[in-house]
């Protein structure tokens, strides 16, 4: 039963942390809005030319996909690294297989020429 309290405690702490930080910063920061320029988009000091809500190329999307894939991999490795001492050899081999599979994915992407910017 106590495990349940741990989970609830962690959830509450997470939510409280987020709102605490935003609340305190809203409480003590300045409300000086400045004149029209404060809200203007920053482009090294010059007005932006044309409409900056334009469409972006496909290659950005592919890069984002690759990044997400390998970022999630890092999350799993991180969890594994914490309990590495308890997992002994079989845990190590399991992680090697996991990483190998992902490297195959990277190799495929590399061979397909996705990494060179088009």
């Amino acid at each position: 039963m106590t495990e349940l309290w741990y989970v609830v405690g962690f959830a509450l702490a997470g939510v409280a942390f987020v709102f605490l930080v935003i609340g305190v910063s809203w409480l003590i920061t300045h409300r000086n809005r400045g004149d029209g320029h404060k809200g203007r988009p920053y482009e090294s000091g010059i007005e932006t030319y044309g409409d900056t809500w334009g469409r972006f190329g496909l290659s950005f999307y592919i890069y984002a996909l690759l990044f997400v894939a390998f970022d999630i991999e890092v999350v799993f490795i991180y969890l594994w690294a914490i309990s590495f001492r308890a997992l002994l050899l079989d845990g190590f081999v399991a992680m090697l297989i996991f990483v190998a599979i992902l490297l195959v994915g990277l190799g495929y992407a590399w061979r397909k020429g996705v990494l060179t910017w088009r």
């Binding site: 404060k38 809200g39 482009e43 090294s44 007005e47 044309g50 900056t52 334009g54 190329g57």
Partner: protein
Amino acid sequence: MTTDARTPNPHAALDDPSIFIEDVLRESIVEAVPVGRTERQAEFYTLRDGEMLLNMGPQHPSTHGVLRVVLKIDGERVVDIDPVIGYLHRGVEKLCENADYHQAICYTDPLEYVSSLFCEWAPVMAFEKLLDVTVPRRAEYIRVLATELNRVASHALTMGWFALDLGGLTPVLYSFIERDEIMEMLTALTGQKLLFNYMRIGGVNGDLNHEFMSRLGDWMSHAARHIEANQGLLNENEILVRRARGLGVLDEETALRMAVTGPNLRASGIPFDVRRAHPYSVFPELDFDIPTRREGDCLARYLLRIDEVKQSLRIIDQCLHQLPDGPVMARVPRLVRPRPGRAFAAVEGPRGLYAAYVISDGTDQPFRMRIHDPSFVHLQLVGLMTPGNLVADTMAIMASLDPVMGGVDK
């Protein structure tokens, strides 16, 4: 061409709840792309679909000073580029027309502020031609010694900024150590840290002193070793070499057509160096060679500057050994009134041919003082070399051309 964006925003301050945030921001996003008055402007500011105009504006980590570059980009690829300068235009030529001949040196000093001894030497040499003054040999040797030191300091900075623009943060610290040591040495000689104001019409301000000689001795002992260490840090660095090789290639014919001079020209294979092509001062007596490379890409320009530093060390060594005795200042009247006439004097600066063209009309103020700065001409190469590369490569190309905005904007 004052667009409506110039008038202050008619809306009340942003916190007026009645205004929905999107409206104000959309209102402020300016549709007013500048109207194309000249042929080049019209061609640049017509956007095909998928293209976007991006400002790498006057305040940007990688533009060396206040250079603004308008990029027309399609995703990550740069389609076209239009450098906009003038953000540091201080009107030096007009000020020199209202200043005495001695004071004109003060105005030209902060032009190419990274190598300010060269910015003094060109006008001073032009005034000496107008006055037909012969500078004593000791002063000429001290001038060559001081300017070569300034060249080493300037090239050290260039190497640091080149690595910084390619992403390396620590080489800047190494290059500033080297540069600060030389600056302290030149401060001991001239009395000022960055804008030396050391050269006078007819010679130099003061003779060599012990403080300068001892610091020079210490520095010369470990200068070659430091350069080797800095090179080891950068030359074999795989990232820098792969990014810089083959980027922004400048062939011989285009370099001559674009009136390029200095390291950027010599990196394309043409051994034009004003010290050899049009010898001035005591350079005919000094023996040094002009390093040239054939590839003409960013890496060649970077490596060429390291070779030039080695040549400068050789020149400094020879100057110290052949330093004659004698006065350091010729007899020049306090009130300088040269004959009516014109004089053109060119000096080989760290960035190229730095020249001063002076017209005098017999009064004590120059009638017209024209300063030719090499970086001003080299910035046109950015518009030539960047289209087709990625956005990140524009920094590498601009860093390899190494513009100094004080000289570009005069």
